[in-house]
């Protein structure tokens, strides 16, 4: 992949390209939840592997930033590491695993457990930005539906799930209404993370590389998960369970199977959160 940092401009792109992406981003921030088209660029990473998020990150990053990159909650996954390397090689900025230390957090499929704070930016990678796509194949038509705030299709898809499975079986990417105007795909985060978007202290940006769209949830925006009167929105519940490693509860956990005993157990999905807790406990001498 990257050999020397000097072969590229700071943050890989030329300044004109960065400016253009930032212009689209500013528009996205001004119209919360609205998908703004942008000229998605070729990257030394295949489209569909986070190039949308990466382009946003590279357009925003400055010399004083500190980066955190996670993939499905893990800082050390191959994808996260590759993206981190590219950012590091082309910017030389520092990186961290600790959510609270990062100024920009790029993530796929999760919002970290440690609450984000004012001044932080969360960049989410998005495979499918259009929440109405399964209902309406044509981009021209979905644009009209958004323009007219006609979201029957989004509710219909939830209704269909209830007819099929008895509940709203969205594993991830449960649609949200942003500031009572645009229905938005929150990216494939678990339902557990949806409420974190509501009235967030941090700026949330969402980028889709293949589909060439950027959209945003500015700080303190109202974000409501779609639900019916008699089928309220319910995040995944881990009631009664706690992380086998750090003991945390009320976080999003993976269900794992102990190979030898065949027993199932739970573990924090957010690895850095889990490690931080372990370290803290060790310092306090609790373990």
């Amino acid at each position: 992949m990257m050999t020397t940092a000097t072969a590229y401009n700071f943050a890989f792109f030329d300044e004109g390209s960065k400016r253009e992406i930032r212009r689209a981003t500013l528009k996205a921030i001004s119209i919360p939840g609205y998908q703004v088209p942008f000229a998605s660029r070729e990257m030394p990473i295949a489209r569909g592997w986070g190039t949308g998020g990466l382009q946003l990150t590279l357009s925003l990053v400055g010399k004083n930033d500190t980066m955190k990159v996670i993939d499905q909650g893990a800082d050390e996954s191959v994808n996260a590491v590759n993206i981190k390397k590219l950012i590091e090689n082309t910017t030389g900025i520092g990186k961290t695993d600790e959510t609270s230390e990062a100024t920009i957090i790029q993530s796929r499929h999760r919002i970290p457990e440690v609450p984000l704070t004012k001044g932080q930016i969360l960049v989410l990678q998005v495979p499918l930005p259009e929440p109405l796509r399964a209902f309406e194949a044509s981009e021209l038509e979905t644009k009209k539906l958004h323009a007219e705030k006609e979201y029957s299709g989004a509710w219909l898809m939830l209704f269909e799930q209830i007819m099929k499975y008895g509940n709203m079986a969205t594993d991830a990417d449960h649609p949200v209404m942003v500031e009572n105007r645009y229905v938005m795909a929150p990216s494939p985060i678990p339902r557990f993370d949806n409420p974190k978007m509501n009235h967030s202290d941090a700026l949330i940006l969402l980028g889709a590389g293949r589909e060439k769209k950027v959209y945003a949830v500015p700080p303190y925006t109202r974000v409501v998960s779609l639900a019916f009167q008699d089928h309220p929105f319910e995040p995944e519940s881990f009631e009664g369970e706690s992380c086998k490693v750090c003991g945390a509860n009320s976080v999003f956990m993976d269900e794992l199977v102990e190979e030898e005993s065949g027993e199932t157990y739970y573990q924090c999905n957010d690895t850095s959160y889990c490690i931080e807790r372990l370290n803290q406990a060790q310092e306090e001498g609790a373990l």
Binding site: A147, F228, D230, H231
Partner: protein, 281 residues
């Protein structure tokens, strides 16, 4: 129909053309036209100066040969297409004072979702073939603002039962159904919000004769029971005779004759209508 009732729907001077027209066709000099087609610029004048009323509780038939503009007219009324010019009023909508064609997209959706139902000849246009049948009905209810699953499920099952779709098939997708059943699901969907006006475009065309008869029976019964107004389009005068109280005859985009269906059948005035009636006998 009662003469003293006000119409539920009034349409005046509706024009729809495909193409911009040219010097040659703008005057509509018949010598320069091939029927309603301009051979110079390729413009099709699909509906020309169409005016009519629909009264509460009546079935208005529209008959005419293929290409006479019937479907285009229905598409304009349901806002599937924009008119070139003309006005339409619904008596119960904004006191019947607002030209429907000049309303915004959002208001047009409101009218479609609350005041009208439509059944298309081709069920692909009226149904989501991969969604459940009950979901198809729910779509219209959701569009009209319903957000209670239990209510929609109950209403959907009631409607499907009404159009003789077995309840155990309510969660099946229409793509698994026969043509006649698909039309029944479309009818159930169109009726879901109890609209005062139902638009039916060749709903039995292409179905087997026996299936045709049962769908026509269903429409007749529903219409009597629900007392809704229906605009029924068909190229088949037999269908019109069976259901329509009054009838418009269209030819090359124009209404050439209108009146009570019985009168038109017994004493057709226009030469074209005479041919049509004779071919039925």
């Amino acid at each position: 129909m009662n003469e003293f009732d006000s119409p539920i729907l009034s349409v005046r001077h509706l024009n729809k053309q495909f193409g911009n027209g040219c010097e040659s066709c703008r005057t509509q000099n018949p010598e320069q036209m091939l029927k309603n087609y301009c051979p110079v610029c390729g413009t099709v004048y699909a509906c020309k100066d169409v005016s009519f009323d629909v009264y509460p509780g009546e079935v208005l038939g529209i008959v005419g040969e293929s290409g006479s503009g019937k479907s285009t007219l229905m598409k304009c009324l349901y806002f599937d297409q924009e008119v070139t010019s003309g006005v339409a009023y619904i008596h119960t909508y904004k006191d019947g004072k607002k030209n429907l064609f000049e309303e915004s997209g959002q208001y047009k959706r409101y009218i479609r979702n609350h005041l009208m139902g439509k059944v298309y000849q081709n069920p692909i246009l009226g149904l989501k073939m991969d969604f459940s049948s009950i979901g198809n009905i729910a779509e219209k209810l959701i569009s009209a603002g319903e957000r209670h699953v239990g209510t929609m499920e109950a209403r959907g099952i009631e409607l499907l039962d009404h159009v003789c779709i077995p309840i155990h098939r309510s969660k099946e997708a229409p793509k698994n159904f026969s043509g006649g059943m698909q039309q029944r699901v479309q009818i159930a969907k169109a009726l879901s919000n109890k609209p005062p006006l139902l638009l039916l475009d060749e709903v039995t065309t292409g179905l087997d004769l026996s299936v045709q008869a049962s769908v026509l029976d269903l429409i007749k019964n529903l219409q009597r029971e629900l007392e809704i107004s229906i605009v029924l389009v068909s190229h088949d005068l037999g269908v019109i005779r069976m259901l329509a109280d009054r009838t418009l005859v269209m030819l090359e985009g124009r209404v050439i004759e209108q009146g009570l269906t019985d009168q038109i059948l017994e004493d057709p005035q226009h030469q074209y209508t005479q041919q049509l009636v004779h071919s039925l006998l």
